[in-house]
């Protein structure tokens, strides 16, 4: 079963060693585990595009970075993805919560919840929606894409990484 503990251990075992992001309640458990682990630095970012820059710098300096954010941050990141990561071939693993996955979420999440996959597709950025069934394979796909210098997004809905919130 996919939980914050299971997934954080998988990330660590695959060599991911630099973490930053802007919190989302759906990622609260995962961020807590990573932030509490003294082996893995977590740098709180003020905005998602600054986190993209931070991850880019970390990658250039030899780290394997992860950006944790809500899908509301995707808009802020688009210029960074298109004029930095995609043209410089700087990979990053994005773990993006999917608010507005269904129309019962709060109004501010509805439009982005509907269009986030189209935005990624339009930018030519690959992604998977992860679940208990596919998270290992999805992360392996992400790593393969990153080895080609590409960013990859793992979208995650409610109920996996929000333990205790």
């Amino acid at each position: 079963m996919l939980t914050s503990k299971v997934f954080s251990e998988l990330l660590f075992s695959k060599g991911f060693n630099f973490f930053t992001g802007v919190p989302c309640s759906l990622l609260s458990g995962l961020i807590s585990i990573i932030d509490d682990d003294p082996k893995t630095p977590y740098y709180p970012a003020v905005r998602e595009d600054a986190a993209v820059g931070l991850c880019a710098g970390a990658y250039l300096a030899g780290k394997l970075p992860v950006l944790l954010m809500q899908n509301s941050g995707l808009g802020y990141c688009l210029n960074a993805f298109t004029s930095l990561n995609l043209i410089y071939k700087i990979p990053v693993l994005v773990i993006m919560s999917w608010r507005g996955e269904d129309s019962t979420d709060a109004p501010e999440h509805i439009i982005m919840g509907e269009i986030n996959q189209n935005l990624l597709n339009t930018c030519g950025m690959e992604y998977s929606v992860i679940s208990s069934d596919n998270y290992k394979a999805s992360l392996n796909t992400a790593i393969q894409q990153m080895e080609k210098g590409l960013p990859y997004t793992l979208m995650v809905g409610k109920g996996y990484f929000n333990e205790g919130h």
Binding site: A45, R47, A58, L60, A80
Partner: protein, 189 residues
């Protein structure tokens, strides 16, 4: 002093340091004075030189990392000053060439004429902040900050003066990534 004079002072002072250059005229000036493998030139993603520099600095505490930024870039990503102050990398020097304009888009005015960026950096929590207005102060200020634990902030006030005939960075973005990573890679001892 003119902006070009500031670059002519500061760029020759770089020796073994990692240097992240903001987009626009900053990377073009630097590239044309002295191209180096340890230079990362940004051609887009305005505002992110500071966060890229922070990512490098915290990942390579054994290396001095210099960010060469502009006033428009700093104003766009003022929050990153807080991230730098909070992470507090001792090896980071943030240099801002402040011409109070968006020079590469036609010299539209920026807010740094009215907002003191070195005071913002100081309030955010940079350990050392300095402002220089005279060409003769640059070398001394840089060397002083190089000798101290940072994060440090050096604001260089200049007049816009960019010569449009200054060439663009020749390397492709992919080449910049490859060369930069190779140049800063840790050598196994």
């Amino acid at each position: 002093m003119k902006g070009t004079e500031a670059f002519e002072e500061i760029i020759p002072l770089l020796t073994d340091e990692i240097a992240i250059h903001a987009n626009g005229y900053i990377c073009r000036e630097s590239f044309n004075i002295k191209d180096r493998g340890k230079n990362f030139y940004m051609i887009g993603s305005m505002g992110l030189a500071s966060s890229i520099g922070l990512g490098v600095a915290v990942s390579r505490p054994d290396q001095k990392t210099i960010i060469i930024d502009g006033d428009g870039n700093v104003l766009m990503s003022m929050g990153t000053l807080a991230m730098i102050a909070a992470a507090a990398p001792k090896n980071l020097i943030h240099i801002v060439i402040d011409n109070e304009t968006y020079e590469s888009t036609g010299r539209q005015r920026s807010l740094s004429k009215l907002v003191s960026l070195e005071k913002v950096a100081q309030s955010a929590g940079y350990i050392h902040t300095k402002k220089v207005t005279n060409k003769s102060q640059i070398k001394g200020a840089f060397q002083e900050l190089m000798g101290k634990d940072g994060p440090s902030f050096l604001l260089i006030k200049v007049e816009p003066s960019f010569d449009k005939s200054t060439g663009r960075v020749h390397h492709t973005p992919e080449e910049i990534t490859f060369r930069f990573m190779k140049s800063i890679k840790k050598t196994k001892s």
